[in-house]
Assembly symmetry: D2
Homo-oligomer: 289 residues x 4
């Protein structure tokens, strides 16, 4: 039984020792520990993986452990969160009409590449990809939007939120979902919502980035996975990659080459999130690979 | 004796044959030929390398050959230019205080990596890098600017232009030269002025790109070599590359990692320009590698 | 109606003109032409794409055109082959138990990324991946081998060859097919058999390359797509790519990271082959991208 | 005053705490700590950076601290070494005729990119690069070898070893030094001797790797920095990188492209070594970046 603790606090000498002592005191074994001090920001970040099978208060009693963490956290003004291997992560995939990221995540989950997670639901504003969902035996919900009808959009968003709640979702993946959520929705969910944008941000935020990349005559195109805050394409970046293009690459070639980038970049980000490797600070991510 | 002909014209069936016929007619041998049709723009681009040692009108009589090309060009509404291996390219390096791109180009020229070119002059608004110029026995001119004095800036620019003229310069390389030229200067010279910008454009145009990259929390940093038009950092892109960074990379780490990018990207662009491999169209470059 | 002509011959001045004249003479329009002279080997390579819709002898009469090409070829000692857009390529996928390359190719074909091809059959020495084939409605044949029984292996190979014949297959893709064919089979089929090997060849030819890469302590791992000659993992290389690894990557991590490489490298090679972009010479490939 | 402690030992629970306690006990402040557990090998690795300015026994008394470390090390069967910022590293560069790696390291040291090191001597079996050494005001010793004269080779090696001793060298960099040292020399020095090999090892060990890469028709070429053990090109790999090549790249193009790889890969390895970021185990390197 494995726990993962993520910590963020103002830099201070005793933190590492206090956390270690706490876990040892409870009978937990530290398996690995990574830390990072951001000297400019005077902040400290840590990821501690521990085995709590032999916890003195019993492995089922993680609430007591968390009370202990709360005590230490207060002392050091820590932000923290902990997750347990006994609790499988539940990931919802949101898609529109493009299937490459959807397929990619379904296959990786099927292959066991994404540890300890399940996909209870695929949501879409279009019916097109139900056929893909069926191949992998995953429920698919088509929640259409009437174009230019704000009420329809709000109702659809409410329906989505209802389903996420119902299904106990703790990670929302926008796998080329071509709709923008309301500020309220984003504010509630951005910490567990990952979007893939088809450019190397901050270049080409917003619509049609490959067209704009072609027009600008760039020699690399990219993809960026980020947390989807209410500030469009401006959330904390988790992963980015690029590939070279030349004058021979017309927009459709960029789209095709970009697909390979999008799916690997998104998969990386999702995997790191599922493994509790990411801490957000100040619109940046600390990533314990 | 090798000539290189670059052609750009509206796409049309007979172009390749007409150019080939013309060169054969003059007794030139085509060594290599690369072409590209931009279907969306309905434009045709070609680079022809030919041996004119046995030209019927005599190898010294390239003016006659060029009259022939002019005839063909009129028929097809061609833009064209030709260069000859007998005429060495003369490259001026403009620098401020950073030496990595300067060293890099000096070494590559010394090594013979940049074919058929010489560096008659290094120009700078600071005296710092004269020591580097001396090591390679290249004249260095210090042309200072009084900060916030527009007249001083204009006078310095005029002095630079005078020297470029005097030295018969046909390629200006801004090797981390931290000054911006006037619109007039750019309009006159951008076709043979290459700048290196320390970001993957169009992200982080303008000042302090590494600082802004760090603030945005990007996971890749880049460098871009482009022709320096009067629209700052918006000229036609010649070469770009990126390298991965993580949360562990503070601004000075980005600066350090970026140096390696800047010098290789700039060197590529300069090399391609010197070998007449670049055609600009519509703020984009066609690059015959 | 589009034809693609691939040519290889000793370097000689008149080739380009002769081929162009021939095609024009038949009323074909050259759409694009790429050429390469290997100076060290004194060889010339060309790929010509032409429209033969308005061929004077009628577009159905490609046999006449080919007689014309044969004439020119004799003169220049050319190796050549031509393919026509009217004839869809038929690709067989051979797999064992790993599904990532199989899925990848199925999805790319479904997406239309692999132009003008169909997959009539998937063959395997194991039953495991029939479920994947079913999802994409493609016939799957399980042709088992009794381990250490040479006769069983020979019989299975004969069965495969029979099916390939029957299905009119013109590209065999070994998508992580973990069996080695006989020398005779390879000699007959290598020109249209692409294998993906999970290392950057020539390093780690043969079995268990990720284990050996880990043991050697390399900092990059790779994948190589190549034509499968009878000399194991020594055939002409079509595409290669690598990714960085660190001491933190144990063998299973390399296997996971390698999957992404294998599928993109294999897909590239298959795409280039299907588009007739590859000419083999002297165990190397000339690749008109 | 900063110390860096590198530790390697069989994995065991109390190590981290014991090391931390020891340093705290002496009044040292831990600035950063990185660790890695190799589960397959059951080994533990750690890099601890600490400030010993306020050490209780006085910052000059590191010998006492080291006695303390020895005690802890005995308990855990640790291999360890410690270095101090007060002691500048002394690096000898060995070269033959190629100057790109030499220039690169000289410039990086001049720029302050290689912290806390000096280059007291450049050694060569050829006189050619003395001109480069002079430009950077570094003593150059020409120690020729009579080809095919074993005694001359042995004498030259002895001379080199004498100079290294005399100059108090603690890092030997073979910056394209085209000679092979004797087994005895390697056995004595490999832990502080870094070589750059111009291929992605283990492919193309030994002579003329670019020629062999061209002959094999690879689509990537690489460079590898490694510790130079007596087993030629088989020592622990520190850094590797590759770049793409095509059929258009003849051997001289590979040589040119390879130069950029060689210098950046070598510089990385040298930097990591100088910063005490590398631990060797079982012919592999653990690299605390």
């Amino acid at each position: 039984m494995i726990g993962t603790l993520l910590i963020k606090c103002p830099d201070s000498k005793g933190v590492v020792a206090s956390v270690a002592q706490l876990l040892f005191g409870f009978g937990c074994n530290i398996i690995s520990s990574d830390q990072f001090s951001d000297i400019a920001a005077d902040m400290f970040f840590q990821r501690v993986v521990f085995d709590y099978s032999d916890m003195l208060v019993g492995p089922g009693n993680t609430a007591v452990l968390e009370r202990g963490i709360t005590e230490v956290a207060r002392k050091y003004s820590m932000d923290w969160r902990v997750s347990y291997s006994t609790k499988q992560k539940r990931m919802a995939l949101l898609v529109s009409k493009l299937d490459h990221c959807l397929y990619d995540l379904l296959i990786r989950v099927e292959n066991g590449e994404m540890e300890n997670c399940t996909i209870p639901i695929i949501l879409s504003n279009h019916p097109d990809l139900e056929v893909v969902a069926k191949r992998f035996n995953i429920p698919y919900r088509h929640l259409p939007i009437t174009p230019k009808d704000a009420a329809s959009k709000a109702a659809q968003e409410a329906a989505i939120e209802g389903i996420l709640e119902e299904e106990g979702i703790n990670l929302i993946v926008l796998a080329r979902y071509m709709q923008i959520f309301s500020k309220d929705f984003c504010d509630r969910h951005w910490r567990h919502t990952i979007n893939i944008h088809h450019s190397f941000l901050p270049a080409f935020e917003g619509a049609r980035p490959y067209h704009r990349a072609h027009e600008r005559g760039v020699k690399v195109i990219g993809a960026t996975a980020h947390y989807a805050t209410s500030d469009l394409d401006c959330g904390p970046i988790i992963a980015q990659d690029v590939t070279h293009v030349s004058h021979r690459d017309a927009v459709p070639d960029m789209v095709r080459k970009g697909r390979d980038l999008e799916r690997t970049v998104l998969a990386k980000a999702v995997r790191w999130h599922l493994q509790d490797r990411i801490i957000v600070h100040d619109n940046r991510t600390v990533l314990f690979e």
